[in-house]
Structures are given as C-alpha cells and as structure tokens.
C-alpha cells in the first residue's frame, strides 16, 4: 500500500495539516489570543496540507538531494519490476504518464461537475424550491463552475503533456520533475475545493467576489486556496510547454512546420504564464483580508471592491482562451486528416491563435460593463471585445475552405470536430450581443450569458476534447474504441446539449436571472426549464455511453493498426503506445505537416545521416528500453 505515492502523499499531507494547525494555535496562544480562529488556523493547515502532500509523494526528493550537494541523476527511473499501473499513482516524470494522469483526473472532475449540474437542473426543472436551500444551491453552482474550470485546465494539460513532446519529436518535456510536480500539486488543490463544500460552502459563485467573499463561510477559504494550487500548476506547466516547444523541436521543424495544436498550446501557454498570477493574487488578497484583516477591497479601510474585479478578470477572461485555443487547435489538427486535404491557410490559422491570445488580454472589462466604469472605458472595451471575432472568423473560414471539396469521412472524432464547429459557431455569434454595451445592459446576469458560455465551452473544449480522446485512443492504448458506441455518444450529447442551451437562450431573453435557485411560475419559464433539464440528463447519459466505450475498449478493444487515420503527424509514425522515450530513431522534418493528397510530399523522415551525428546516443538499441 505504502509503495503508492498517492497513499503516502495523503497520509503525510494529513499529518502535515494537523501539525500546521497545531503550530498556528500554539503561536496564537503564545501571542495571548484565543487558540481557535477558523480562518488563520485553516489557512496554515491548508498550506501545510499541500506542501506535506507533495513531500509525501516524493515531489521534492530529487531537489532535496541537490540541495545537499548530491547528484540526483536522470529523472526517469521507473522500477522495471513494479507493475505498470503503479506509475499512474506515483510521482512519475514521464510525459506520457503525466498526460494520462491529467486526462483521467480531468474526466473524473468532469463527471463530478456534471453531476452537480444535473442536481442544479433538477432543482430548476420546475418553479418553486424542490429539495434545496438557496444557499446549498449557490454552493453547488459555484462548485459546478470551479470544478469544471479545473477539469478543463487539467484536460488541456493532459492533451498537451501527452502530445507536445510527441508532436515536436522530443523524448520528454524540458523539465520532467517540474512537470510531475505540476500535476501532483493539483491533487491537494482539488481536495481543498471539495473540502469547501463540507466546511460551510460558499455562496459567492465561482468568481468569489468580495465583499461577499470576505464574509462568506469558511468554505470559501478552501475554495480560494484550492484554485491557488491549480493556478500554480498551470503556471509551472506553461513554463514547461514553452521551453519544450521553443527549444526542443526536431531538426527541420521550423515554427511554421509545427502542428497547429502545438501553435494553439503555444498561445495558451503564453496566456497561462502571463495571466494566471492575476487570479492567484486576487484570491490571495481576499484571503489576506480574511486572515489578517488587510482591507484591500473594503472601502471603509481605504480599499476598493472594483479593484478585485479588474485583477480577477484580467485572468479570468483570457482563461476562456486557455480553454478554447487548444480545442480549436484540435479541430484544425483533425480536419485535414478526415478531409484528406491540406489545411487551408496554415499560417493564418497558426497566427490567429496568437492574435486571439494577445487581443484576449485587452478585453477583461467587458465583464464589468454594469459596474459603472464610464462610457469611455466601456466603449473601448466593447471595441477590443468585438475585435476578437476577427481572428476567430479567420479560423472558421479556413476550416470551411479546408472542408471544401474534400473527401470527408465521418468517424467519431470527425463527428465531434463537426459538432464543435457548429456549436462554437453559435457560441461565437451569441457573443457580440454580450460584448456590446447597450445590449449587455439587458443580457448581463441572464441565462443568455449562460447559454453563450456553455456554447463556447462545449464547442471550444468539450467536443474537441472528446474528438481528441477518440482520435488518439489507438495511440495511447494500442486498441480501437467501439465506433457504434462512439457515434451514439456523439448524437446523444449533441441533441441533449442543444436542448439545454436553446432553452437557456430563450429564457435568458425572457429575463431569467442566473445564479438563483427559483423563479416565478408566472414568468412562464417552466416548459423550457423542463426541456433543459431533460437535455442535461441526455448529456449525462451520453457520458455514460462514453465511459462504457472507453472502459470496454481499453480491456477488450480490437488491436489498432499502426496508423489507423493515415495521419502524417510524427506521433503516428511510431508504435502504439509509444516507447518510453518516444522516437527510437531521431525524426527529421522535411516538409509541411498538412500536405494531404499533395503528390510526393513528405513531412518527416527518420534516421537521416547528418541528423544522427548530432545525437549519437539516440539509437534504437539505446533509447527504447533504457
């Protein structure tokens, strides 16, 4: 049992939390104060829980050895005698293990958050309170939001961890230990977020605005600190992605020969590196207000509550581009494979991701039109907001042109790509009414915004994520998924999703407020709320079909051929699952990545003379089994 890193982490972490709380109480007594005060004691307890969890799992052991002047050597030393499954529950620096850890955790969180959504939908199905107090509803709504956000961040990291080193032809990430740390720090973070439910919950929603956030029950402290841990993971991950992408590409892979997914992740990593500090600091400042009484956001003490919204949205708007840019990258990545045509306008698709990332930094205050920033700021942010539509539009037209006159085949990944295309299009079109000041005054805080947001998240992340899972399933497991169940999943999910969001748009325009547990029957929302609830359960059912498909296929799916999709990308040119250090012979990129159907075009060659003299150690005998 104790050979599992996770178990050790949980035990040592729990001990650490108790020690931290005890020390804080002792210090308080020494200072002549009452021993127990919920916020400071829990704060120190939560921080030491995170640190000791990581100590217990062994995240710091190599660094500790360095600090003592010893040599830690190669980070990759999987015990050849230990069973393979144990690696997934331990501190393992291999990017493929970490990618799977991230993806599975993300899926687990999606199921949890989806369940919370279904509970909310049950409550909303009819007018009047069914089975929940408004406060519980608020906590569940906030949890649904933040757990989904965590799931999406982890899912993005999962895809990126597994795919980026493979796609750029590297044996692993640039900093493998740091990479493992980035994953494992999310686990205590998630535990803290779950803990927030059992320590009074929080009635602020996922945004945690002060002054309510500064007064809410203890639960919100754990919520803030959990988000803080996940944010730290996001920053450390982005350092790894950027270094790997910019410094470790295979010979011949210039920036404009990178797969589009890598471009999307490059833009995403830049946002993560620049913006994540802002949500972390905004939450830390509220925590300081709660724990030490520093009145950052309290006007009575010289603070300002709007300051929080500025700092918070400077991350939280670009965050949605963190969620969607990898997804849009997946769409661009898969379309040419299933259309058997070159990607139309490769450079424009690649650079539009960067453009979205950069413009994304200049739009945050469109969440604050109703705060009262004044006409000048409001209209400035309105223009920058609508500007985002330009690079997004470039992507759409290029995708359309890619599909034009192509030989489209409709396997499950392609279905999800097309679904993402349609859903994200509607998400994009429902955005400008929110981004325009005059209409936003009416749409702000209504279900219209909820519908818009879910369209962008499903079109930008969930559907591409599903497409990615089906597409790379044969690569990761060496087996094929069940095509019929996959298609069933797609159709159930799409129909259910449209039932939900169409109703949301409808009742939003009629004036249904978001974030409330109840509504007046006289408003006439009951029918559409019921349709939305039924749609929500259809989406839930589709996710069960997905689960059955994945579990059955991992255990008993038919063996996948080497390259079932006839993809040109690097990762499909090696065995499935890939060897420990990916490429037995060094890949050399000699052409464009998406020249499907172009006669005589080659993307990658292996073991070319001249490339191998740069790295004599990487021969097949040496690398694959070390």
């Amino acid at each position: 049992m104790l050979s599992l890193g996770l178990i050790r982490g949980l035990i040592v972490g729990a001990i650490g939390a108790v020690i931290g709380m005890a020390l804080t109480m002792a210090a308080r007594v020494a200072l002549g104060r009452p021993a127990w005060s919920a916020d400071p004691v829990s704060f120190v307890g939560a921080i030491s829980w995170i640190v000791f969890f990581l100590v217990g799992i062994g995240a710091f052991s190599d660094w500790w050895r360095w600090a003592q002047g010893e040599q830690a050597g190669d980070p990759h030393h999987p015990d050849p005698n230990a069973p393979q499954w144990k690696r997934y529950f331990s501190f393992d620096p291999s990017h493929k293990v970490i990618g799977i850890q991230y993806t599975v955790t993300a899926l687990a969180l999606m199921y949890v958050a989806g369940l919370l959504a279904l509970i909310m939908r049950l409550e909303l199905a009819r007018s009047g309170l069914q089975f929940m107090s408004p406060n519980t509803y608020n906590t569940i709504m906030g949890l649904h939001g933040i757990v989904m956000i965590g799931a999406i961040l982890l899912g993005v990291s999962g895809m990126a961890n597994y795919l980026i080193p493979l796609m750029v032809g590297a044996p692993d990430m640039a900093f493998p230990r740091l990479n493992a740390l980035s994953f494992w720090i999310t686990v205590p973070g998630v535990v803290l977020i779950v803990l927030s439910f059992f320590t009074g919950g929080f009635d602020t929603g996922w945004t945690g605005y002060p002054p309510l956030g500064a007064r809410a029950p203890l639960g919100i402290l754990f919520f803030y600190l959990g988000v803080f841990a996940i944010g730290l993971s996001s920053i450390l991950g982005s350092i790894n992605f950027l270094t790997t992408t910019l410094k470790m590409r295979a010979p011949g892979m210039s920036l404009f020969r990178m797969p589009i997914f890598v471009w999307g992740m490059l833009a995403t990593s830049i946002i993560q590196l620049v913006a994540t500090q802002f949500i972390g600091m905004s939450f830390l400042m509220v925590v300081l207000e709660r724990v030490l009484g520093m009145g950052f956001f309290d006007p009575a003490k010289g603070g300002d509550a709007v300051l929080f919204q500025h700092i918070f949205w400077f991350y939280s708007h670009p965050a949605v581009y963190i969620f969607i840019l990898p997804g849009l990258g997946i769409i661009s990545e898969l379309l040419p494979v299933f259309v058997r045509k070159p990607l139309f306008g490769y450079k424009f698709v690649a650079l539009s991701s960067m453009a979205i990332a950069i413009i994304g930094f200049l739009v945050w205050a469109h969440h604050m039109f109703t705060v009262g920033l004044g006409n000048v700021l409001n209209s400035t942010f309105m223009f920058t907001t609508v500007l985002v539509a330009v690079p997004t539009g470039i992507k759409f037209f290029n995708w359309l042109a890619t599909m034009w006159e192509g030989k489209i085949s409709f396997e499950t990944p392609m279905l999800f790509v097309l679904g993402a295309f349609v859903i994200f299009l509607i998400g994009g079109l429902s955005g400008p009414p929110n981004g325009t000041v005059v209409t936003d005054f009416f749409l702000h805080e209504t279900y219209w915004v909820v519908g818009h947001f879910h369209h962008t998240m499903f079109g930008g992340f969930v559907f591409p994520f599903m497409a990615a899972i089906y597409f790379w399933f044969p690569k990761v497991t060496g087996r094929m998924y069940n095509e019929r169940l996959g298609k069933l999943h797609f159709w159930l999910m799409t129909i259910g999703f449209f039932m939900v969001t169409t109703s949301m748009f409808r009742i939003g325009l009629l004036g249904m407020r978001r974030r409330i547990a109840d509504y007046d029957p006289a408003l006439g929302f009951d029918t559409f709320q019921m349709i939305a609830t039924m749609g929500g359960f259809l989406v839930g059912l589709s996710m069960l079909v997905f689960l059955v498909n994945i579990v059955r296929s991992i255990r008993a799916g038919e063996r996948a051929p080497e390259n079932p999709w006839r993809s040109r990308s690097l990762e499909w040119q090696i065995s499935s699952p890939p060897p420990e250090f990916n490429y037995p012979t060094p890949p050399v990129v000699v052409g464009g990545p998406y020249d499907y159907g172009v006669p005589g075009s080659v993307y990658v060659r292996f073991g070319i003379a001249g490339a191998s003299d740069a790295d004599p150690a990487r021969t097949s005998s040496d690398n694959g089994k070390s």
Partner: protein, 193 residues
C-alpha cells in the same frame, strides 16, 4: 541546483543544451514572478494614487536599499569568481551576500515593521495595506533567496562547483538579482513618491 543534470546528463538526451533549457525556463519563471509584484505595484497606485504618508523612516529605507544593491554587487563578484575557479573569493563574496541579505531582512521585519504601526501605518487599512503587502511579499522572496544562497554556500564549501559546472550558483544568484530588481521598483513606490 541542477549541477547533476546540467553537465552529467549523458544518461538520456545528450543532444539538448541543458544549460540553455535551464536558463530559458528560469527566465520564464522570473517573468511570471515579476507579474506578482507588478500586481501589488498596480494595486498600490490604484488605491492610493501617487500619495504617500510622510511618516516613513527615510533613513532606514535608504539604508536597506543600499544594502540590497551592495549584496547584488557581491553576488556578481561571487559568480565571476567561480566562473574563473577562484573558490576562496567565491565563498567570501557569497557569504557577504548572505549576510547583507539577512541584514536587509532584519531591517524590514525587525525594525521597519514594528516601527510603522507606531507611526500610524497599520497593515489593516490605508497605505499600510500596500506597504505591508509589498514589503511582505518581497521579504518572503528575500528569505527564500537567502536560504537558496545558504545551500549553495554549504555545497560550495564542500567543493561542489567549478568553472564548467556551476548552474546551481548561477541560478540562485540570478534569483537574488531578480529580488533586487523588484526592490529597485518598490523602493521609490513606497518611500520616495
């Protein structure tokens, strides 16, 4: 810290310039850290404009600023020394850096922090919010920098570094300079405006 992987990493992937990767990652980390301080700096200006209480101890502010700049100077000398295999000079200058850093820390935490509330600058409200959060976040980084340098010093005494293998020295000293750069901006924002 990673002397081990930097120069003896013939185990797995010798084709990458480990030092270049480490440096790139370290600078990305600095960039990301600098935003934390930028947020605090912006908060200070957002809440209090260019105003500043007159009561702050100017002598102390100038003294700790000079001390921190001097420590950067000795850190630079230490790195130059180890780059040319001059171990005694390296250790001497590193020790001076650690002492100056500790002096700075004591100046902030033991002198400035108890004194400011007596002058009416409390952490809970008014300018004290900015003053204590900025100096606190910075002091936290100084503390971690001192600890890092101390580890490097102890390893250096055991003979851990040489002119072709001193990434651990380089990284911690770069971090120390970074902490100094932060104070270069914090000092005028807190004491001089």
């Amino acid at each position: 810290m990673s002397t081990a992987t930097t120069h003896t990493s013939a185990v797995v992937h010798p084709e990458y310039d480990r030092l270049a990767l480490n440096r790139f990652g370290l600078w990305l980390f600095f960039f990301s850290e600098s935003l934390i301080f930028l947020i605090l700096l912006l908060t200070r200006f957002y809440l209090f404009g260019t105003s500043r209480p007159e009561e702050l101890n100017q002598t102390l502010g100038l003294a700790i600023t000079v001390i921190l700049l001097l420590s950067s100077f000795t850190a630079y000398r230490a790195e130059t020394a180890i780059a040319h295999d001059d171990r005694p000079q390296f250790l001497r200058n590193l020790l001076a850096t650690i002492l100056l850093g500790t002096l700075f820390l004591l100046g902030v935490v033991l002198v400035e922090w108890p004194e400011a509330p007596r002058l009416g600058i409390v952490p809970q409200e008014g300018f004290g919010i900015a003053f204590f959060s900025m100096t606190g976040m910075h002091a936290f980084h100084v503390l971690s920098g001192v600890l890092l340098l101390l580890m490097v010093y102890l390893n250096g005494r055991r003979g851990a570094y040489s002119s072709d293998s001193y990434w651990g020295v380089e990284a911690s000293i770069k971090y120390w300079h970074f902490v100094d750069v932060v104070w270069v901006f914090f000092y005028p924002a807190l004491y001089l405006l």
